[in-house]
Amino acid sequence: MIHREYVVHDGKYLVVIRVYKVENSKKFPGGTKAKFLLQHCEGGFVRLLVDNHEPYGFHMHTRLPEDHEHREILEVKDHEAALDYFLNEVERIIKNEKN
């Protein structure tokens, strides 16, 4: 449904937004699967990943690539809020790196 890629911070990072329609299931309630990634281009790893699936709901992986099991649960009610949270985090990360 949505696949957008966006290069930021002098080509250091790629923001990837992917949203799919899937079968409505326990794993993907509402029939929507979303993945929001901040990928480090030259390092070839994912710096930040937000996705939604049961049993976690919306959650964020912040210790990639070392720790795939570490998840921070997001207190958001829908995909729009999760996207907003993710894009704010991207902005914060870039700002911190520039300073």
Partner: protein
């Protein structure tokens, strides 16, 4: 007449990008990026990323079709690690693919992502995108 394929570089402010994806998500409407489009936040960002060395790599990949990153590094007379780092960045953003060669060494074959003959850099919609980055 056969159309010459080109890779298009576009610019979009972070706010516009946010709004575009948020609207598509809210309306559940399709928003699929064209395969020959790469979108940067600013012209400065593109200039910083696309060094002369990377353009040289793209040129050699397109014209001499090296069978490995090692061969590519030899062709451009640069350090392997630096060429590997540049290739990883070019692949992540979508300029090239690093195809598995299926040999025991795990060699990667650098290839253009599709058979483009050139790049078109589109002018940004807002003058500020020439100078200022999103997070400045």
């Amino acid at each position: 007449m056969k159309k010459i394929e080109t890779l298009e570089i576009h610019f979009q402010s972070y706010d516009d990008f946010r709004q575009e994806v948020a609207n598509a998500l809210y309306k559940r409407s399709p928003l699929i990026q064209k395969k020959n489009h790469i979108i940067f936040d600013t012209v400065a960002s593109f200039r910083s990323f696309m060094t002369i060395q990377k353009i040289e790599l793209l040129t050699v990949i397109a014209n001499q079709k090296p069978s490995s990153i090692y061969e590519l590094a030899k062709l451009v007379d640069r350090d392997f690690a630096a060429v590997l780092r540049d290739c990883t960045g070019l692949e992540a953003i979508g300029f090239i693919n690093l195809k598995d060669s299926n040999n025991s060494k795990g060699t990667k074959i650098p290839q253009l992502r599709f058979n483009y003959k050139g790049m078109i850099v589109f002018l940004p919609r807002s003058p500020y995108q020439i100078e200022f980055s999103v997070a400045a």
